[in-house]
């Protein structure tokens, strides 16, 4: 009895617990940082001693200075903007198309019959294999790149949202019927919010895929964008520029994933934390 009281007092008062956590968290973060830092250090040392030539792999410090130079002369920001626009527009098209198709297929029999089979077939097709065809069709401008991103990222949104709509708890739908909800009310109040977690899972996959599509599209044929900057550097054996490109892609991936997570935190505030999508 006494124990319970003490414990509850701690939680409510919150005086003892937070400082302890505040102390523990940074040490763990620091511990996790040790090995990446060590690798960077070894890498730098290997470059200094001439063990690794700059044509094979530029040193971390060199990458840093190249990144600064590329930013100063405008190369990096320009290409970054182009890449961001391609990914952004492609993803926006994918969200609209994927959501629209999933709603049509999920909410009506006819829609399912008309849409689901072609989408399932498209799913099995590796979207990257379409690059040659897209170049033939759309040339080498912006269109084939945006189209590739859009196509690749539509699929996960469609698949997840369709599944989400179809796996709404039938008990909740029954409850809605006993309350006399109209079809539109049922869709708006029960089906859509119930499928939202799946839509967001799909969005997370889509964001990842959109970068993948972009990388390939920009490296196969392009005269701007991060991928183009990297292929260009290849011709001059500039591994430092290539690595800056890789770093930028990694940061973009990380940032966009974080954005979807934030979106999840806001839109799925009703879920207990552990029930949310895979971390």
């Amino acid at each position: 009895m006494l124990e319970t009281t003490v414990e509850r007092g701690t939680v409510i008062g919150g005086t003892r617990r937070p400082p302890r956590r505040a102390l523990r968290l940074p040490t763990r973060t620091l511990r996790r940082l040790v090995s990446p830092l060590l690798i960077l250090l070894l890498w730098q040392a290997a470059s200094w001693t001439g063990l690794v030539s700059p044509q094979t792999l530029a040193s971390p410090l060199r990458i840093l200075s190249t990144a600064t130079d590329l930013t100063r002369d405008g190369t990096l920001p320009e290409n970054l903007l182009v890449s961001l626009a391609r990914a952004g527009i492609g993803l926006a098209i994918a969200v609209v198309a994927g959501t629209g198709l999933a709603l049509a297929a999920g909410l009506s029999r006819f829609g399912e019959e008309a849409i689901d089979a072609p989408m399932q077939m498209l799913r099995t097709l590796p979207a990257l294999a379409l690059v040659p065809l897209f170049i033939l069709w759309f040339g080498i401008g912006e269109l084939p790149k945006v189209a590739l991103v859009a196509l690749g990222s539509t699929i996960p949104i469609y698949l997840n949202l369709f599944k989400g709509i179809r796996s709404i708890d039938p008990k909740l739908l029954e409850m809605g019927r006993t309350l006399g909800l109209s079809r539109i009310q049922t869709v708006r109040q029960i089906v859509l919010p119930g499928a939202l977690p799946d839509l967001l899972t799909g969005l997370r996959f889509s964001v990842g895929i959109s970068w993948l599509m972009l990388v390939v599209a920009e490296q196969v044929n392009a005269n701007s964008g991060i991928g183009h900057m990297m292929t260009d550097a290849e011709d001059f054996l500039r591994t430092d520029i290539i690595l800056v490109g890789l770093l930028v892609y990694a940061l973009l991936g990380l940032l966009s994933d974080q954005m979807v997570r934030t979106l999840e935190r806001i839109l799925l505030a009703w879920q207990p934390v552990r029930a949310r999508g895979p971390r």
Binding site: L179, G180, Q185, Q189, P193, L196, L268, A269, W270, Q271
Partner: protein, 239 residues
């Protein structure tokens, strides 16, 4: 409401049958529930109680027989069936027409003792609280007919006792007709005006419960009524 109208039953079931393949779940069932009457429907698992409730609630079709239920009916399910993405008061206000939906939902939650939990997410509620939200969601529609499908089955014993008292109190105030599906004899005797035992899709026995309210389980009259009901159910040892 005139006296004659009051005598007319509110819910009428005539010759209702329901078959799933070779199994007969409801077998030419006749049942009426009067205005403001509290009917406790008892029966073992598989006796057809839930099927009957689903038909009365309009969730299953009437295939054979006649059923007449007032349009203004509400159901409280065994699992509370709240929408986890809507706050408690929004769950109660779900589908309510009119600009006063919020106020009515708040009043209903106050009535079931949840005035302090109106804005939390349903997944943070205890089982008893969630069930009270379910009851508020039903009562806010001021139903003429309230169906309760084993509403306390998954609650702990103490919470169950409290909830039973609360439902008795709410019924006394709202005076709607109630169908309480349960497998708990004590629950039926605590709350019902009449207990009906369903056996293999037919009414096995029917008992008018004329104990004075509020009822107490240690009242000698309660004990003897309970014994009579259990005897009718062929349970002789468990008294």
């Amino acid at each position: 409401m005139s006296y004659e109208r009051r005598l007319e039953p509110l819910i009428r079931v005539e010759g209702l049958s329901r078959r799933y393949g070779a199994a007969t779940v409801l077998d030419r069932l006749d049942l009426t529930i009067g205005h403001g009457e509290f009917l406790a429907l008892l029966g073992r698992s598989g006796s057809g109680k839930t099927t009957l409730l689903r038909i009365l609630a309009g969730l299953d079709r009437v295939e054979e027989g006649k059923v007449s239920v007032p349009r203004n009916a509400a159901v409280v399910f065994q699992e509370s069936r709240l929408l986890p993405w809507k706050r408690v008061w929004e769950n109660v206000a779900l589908g309510l027409p009119g600009p006063d939906a919020h106020d009515r939902a708040m009043a209903a939650l106050e009535e079931v003792g949840l005035g302090h939990r109106t804005h939390v997410w349903p997944l943070t509620l205890s089982g008893g609280e969630a069930q009270r939200v379910g009851i508020a969601r039903a009562l806010v529609r001021q139903p003429e007919f309230l169906m309760l499908d084993e509403p306390f089955a998954s609650l702990d014993a103490l919470t169950r006792l409290r909830m039973q008292a609360m439902v008795g109190e709410l019924w006394r105030k709202h005076r709607c007709a109630v169908l309480l599906v349960t497998h708990d004899v004590d629950e039926a005797l605590l709350l019902g005006d009449r207990a009906v035992v369903l056996e293999q899709g037919r009414i096995g026995m029917e008992l008018q419960i004329s104990l004075v309210r509020p009822r107490r389980q240690d009242d000698p009259d309660f004990v003897s009524t309970r014994r009579a009901l259990l005897a009718a159910l062929d349970v002789h040892d468990a008294v």
